[in-house]
């Protein structure tokens, strides 16, 4: 048993698997390195344990998580978009393993799933940070100075729109309209709305989140 910490989402858990170098984070599916020293010897024991135990028949890991969602939608392939949205909400992004699992369980070609994922803006094929910042670039926010807010965020975080900070704390995105046009410029951070912003107030909000250690 190894105690692992995910660099992506910060989740800490006891790894009981048999992998030697990388484990998959059960919460965000990010690949986590298994430290060399701690695992020696333990692995041998684990392997023996696993062989001794009977293999469970129900789906585990990614397949299990996907099957839960797919079951909820009664294996309907016309609900593909809804299923993917739900999975994206669970994982924060859509790893390849998930797409393959969805394609298998719904019995639709992987290319088809991939087409949907790349067509719609809501889906992300790259890992996203713990805090998702969405900057509204709608017409109303634009005439009220959304560009200065975005510029400020870019310089504060050191990443461009659509990118994630290396420590996975923030992801910056632009959206077309958040529907709060009367209060522009508007941003949302993890579904919390912040309106009537100025470059200075944005800096304060980001500072606050950083000091809280990423919410």
């Amino acid at each position: 048993m190894v105690k692992l910490t995910c660099q992506h989402c910060g989740y800490v858990w006891d790894y009981r698997g048999e992998r030697e170098y990388y484990a998959t984070c059960p919460r965000c599916l990010y690949k986590v390195r298994i430290p060399e020293v701690k695992t020696r010897g333990v692995k041998e024991k684990l392997k023996r344990n696993i062989i001794a135990k009977e293999q469970p028949t129900k789906l585990t890991g990614v397949a299990g998580l996907v099957s839960k969602v797919v079951e909820e939608y009664q294996y309907r392939s016309d609900m593909l978009i809804q299923i993917l949205l739900k999975l994206q909400k669970n994982f924060g992004w859509l790893p390849m393993e998930v797409l393959m699992e969805v394609s298998k369980q719904l019995n639709v070609p992987l290319s088809y799933v991939y087409r949907i994922v790349t067509f719609y803006k809501a889906f992300s094929l790259a890992p996203r940070g713990r805090n998702l910042i969405r900057v509204c670039m709608g017409t109303s926010c634009k005439v009220r100075g959304a560009q200065t807010i975005l510029d400020r965020l870019v310089s504060l975080l050191g990443i461009g729109p659509g990118e994630t900070t290396p420590d996975f704390q923030f992801t910056l995105e632009t959206v077309n309209c958040l529907g709060c046009c009367a209060l522009g410029p508007v941003i949302t951070i993890n579904d919390n709305y912040y309106g009537n912003l100025t470059p200075a107030s944005v800096a304060k909000i980001i500072e606050k989140i950083k000091s809280e250690g990423g919410m």
Partner: protein, 641 residues
């Protein structure tokens, strides 16, 4: 609904009446009730904290079971949020902060006193106004659909039934045949509020008469237009109204399955409509044998995954099928062959929300509101550089001037009005000389713009029209699905040309290219996204040709927006050498010291505009063309006396 409480299934119109009486009898009309707007707009200003501190304060004072707190939908005046209403005295407070809550509880709720400072204050006269009807923002409105947003809790079906909800459904189901319902809608001349203005009654009839079973009805709440949020507000604030309209429509058309397509970006709208559907099912207003009649109907919510083009009717239908939301050629209208090639009737949220009112009050009543060709009201989201931003609902036929100057309170900061943009990226801009045009479907189309879903973005003299056109084209370029070439390539060309003009590389040739490309796109695009994409370019070019020419011939941006054509310059006569701009400059382009007039190094300047924003003396000026007068470093400050 409390746990263990038996849900009364409604099996006849009499049951509904009985339930309504029961609910009303249970409620004490004199019991104080605080209604707080928690729609996305107000919650960004902290209304959720206000609700929380209300709960805590009432708990502390031991009033928790004597005062009702309602978290309602949007009340319109987003500018002055969070807004709350205290019934039964009908006191309205604006800009409420959590710190104000103890005072409100102890003064207004317990003693009935009014707190002057939280009332609406007229920005011009400085007077406080107590009555909602006297506030200019509300005075000129006709709030047919939005009225009840402030009165009901969207998550509680009993609130909706108490104010007469589902009465129209009972009337349609038990006193009218489907043909009569369609006839009534046709007579009322209700036109699609999604933008096109197609008569809803005719659409319903086409679907009803089309061969094929099952038939579908769809609510389009994929409100992708930047600058528009009325569908969101209706969905968040009064989901049962939309649902009731949908059920009546399904009955008239003979549909057995309905879909509600909501943008994923509106989490609260998704939540509220899902709760509403669940409650309607429990009360027997959805599902098998609605209200004990022979009519069965059910609804499913689909979330849109963020594609603007999916708001187009045929694209939306493919999205509901779980495919990529791309439009298809409409040789056969979707009303005949829509979802899974079955007849499908799609209408906008606002259109459906009008239906219960028409059924209940009759077509004659509806025709009295608005103009004969476009009856009824329309909700606009009045945003941009206007004093009172928010949702306004006005009768059709009101002039743009009334909306912007009477309801909107004029332009922010006393600047000059330049244009108003209606209809989102598919609409166009309307300049000052047409401000007295009545707002209805046909007049706006004549001006080259369109009603659209109802976004109304006001622009002042600081907005560059070429930049606006470029913004919309850039938006549409990203959102175009790329299926048909005129739209995909046309937008790419337009974007390039407009960017060139904005960045000072424009030539006369460019204007000719714009005219050529827009012509082709208008004729040959597959769906409305392409054919209307040219509107923002054509209208700006028509009405503001001088601005295009200034960009091209003089390399000058009259509004001083386009970065490549402007420069910042410190006026030596005004500069007080306070070092503020110097400290704030992110690129270290400002040189200066105490008592020496600051100078901007144009080579280093990145034109971020921070110095312009922070200068307390207004000494930093924007100039266009970007050729500042020659400056010498070392001029002594001229102090103001």
């Amino acid at each position: 609904m409390k746990e263990g409480c038996k849900i009364p299934r409604i099996n006849s119109p009499e049951d509904l009446e009985k339930l309504r009486e029961e609910i009303l009898a249970k409620r004490d009309p004199n019991r104080p009730c605080v209604a707080i707007c928690v729609s996305a707009g107000c919650s960004s200003l902290g209304s959720l904290q206000v609700v929380k501190s209300f709960r805590e304060e009432l708990e502390k004072q031991g009033l928790a079971d004597k005062v009702d707190i309602k978290a309602t939908g949007c009340m319109g005046f987003c500018e002055l949020g969070p807004r709350l209403a205290i019934y039964p005295k009908e006191i309205f407070y604006f800009k409420v902060k959590p710190e104000d809550v103890p005072e409100i509880v102890s003064k207004t709720i317990l003693k009935g006193e009014v707190i002057e400072r939280l009332l609406y204050k007229d920005p011009v006269t400085g007077e406080t106004i107590r009555k909602l009807e006297d506030i200019p923002f509300y005075k000129y409105q006709y709030r047919l659909l939005l009225e009840n947003n402030a009165k009901i809790d969207p998550k509680n079906i009993e609130d909706y039934i108490a104010i007469g909800g589902y009465k129209a459904l009972a009337k349609a189901l038990f006193q009218m045949t489907p043909e009569q319902v369609i006839e009534e809608i046709k007579k009322s001349n209700l036109r699609g509020r999604g933008g096109g203005g197609f008569p809803a009654g005719r659409k319903w009839e086409t679907t009803r008469n089309a061969p094929g079973e099952p038939k579908y009805v769809i609510v389009n709440c994929d409100e992708g237009d930047p600058g528009a949020f009325m569908d969101r507000s209706l969905m968040e604030g009064n989901p049962h109204l939309v649902l009731e309209g949908l059920i009546i429509g399904a009955y008239a058309i003979g549909a057995s399955q309905g879909y509600i397509y909501v943008r994923e970006e509106y989490p609260l709208a998704v939540e509220n409509i899902t709760v509403a559907i669940q409650q309607a099912r429990e009360y027997g207003l959805l599902g098998k044998n609605i209200m004990g009649s022979n009519f069965s109907f059910d609804v499913e919510v689909h979330k849109g995954a963020g594609a603007f083009v999916s708001g187009e009717s045929s694209a939306l239908m493919t999205a509901i099928e779980g495919k990529v939301g791309e439009p298809r050629p409409k040789y056969i209208h979707t009303a005949v062959k829509g979802i899974r090639d079955k007849p499908s009737c799609l209408n906008n949220v606002e259109t459906w929300a009008n239906v219960p009112h028409i059924i209940l009050n009759g077509a004659e009543w509806f025709l009295k509101i608005g103009t004969p060709t476009s009856p009824g009201t329309k909700i606009f989201s009045l945003v941009g550089k206007v004093n009172n931003t928010g949702l306004v609902e006005v009768p059709m036929g009101i002039t743009l001037r009334d909306i912007i100057f009477k309801i909107g309170g004029g332009i922010r900061g006393g600047k000059k009005f330049k244009a108003v943009q209606t209809g989102g990226p598919s609409g166009g801009v309307i300049p000052e000389q047409y401000l007295d045009t009545p707002v209805d479907f046909d007049s706006l189309t004549k001006l080259g713009s369109m009603m659209g879903s109802g976004g109304m973005i006001v622009m002042d003299e600081d907005t560059c029209m070429v930049d606006v056109a470029r913004f919309f084209i850039n938006f549409l370029l990203e959102e175009s699905c790329g299926k048909c070439i005129p739209c995909r390539e046309g937008l790419r060309v337009l974007n390039k040309v407009l960017t060139d003009i904005c960045e000072g590389r424009g030539s006369e040739e460019h204007l000719r290219i714009i005219e050529d490309v827009t012509e082709t796109m208008k004729e040959a695009s597959l769906c409305a996204l392409g054919t209307t994409a040219v509107n923002p370019v054509l209208t700006t070019l028509n009405y503001f040709r001088d601005e295009y020419e200034a960009h091209i011939k003089e390399r000058r941006c009259p509004a001083k927006v386009c970065k490549a054509l402007t420069a910042y310059y410190i006026n030596p006569d005004k500069c007080q050498a306070c070092l503020i701009c110097l400290r704030n400059c992110p690129s270290g382009a400002i040189k200066g010291e105490r008592d020496i007039v600051h100078v901007i190094d144009q080579e280093k300047c990145i034109k971020c505009g921070i110095c312009y924003a922070v200068c307390p003396f207004g000494a930093v000026e924007k100039i266009s063309p970007p050729v500042p007068p020659p400056v010498r470093y070392g001029i002594k400050v001229k102090r103001k006396k």
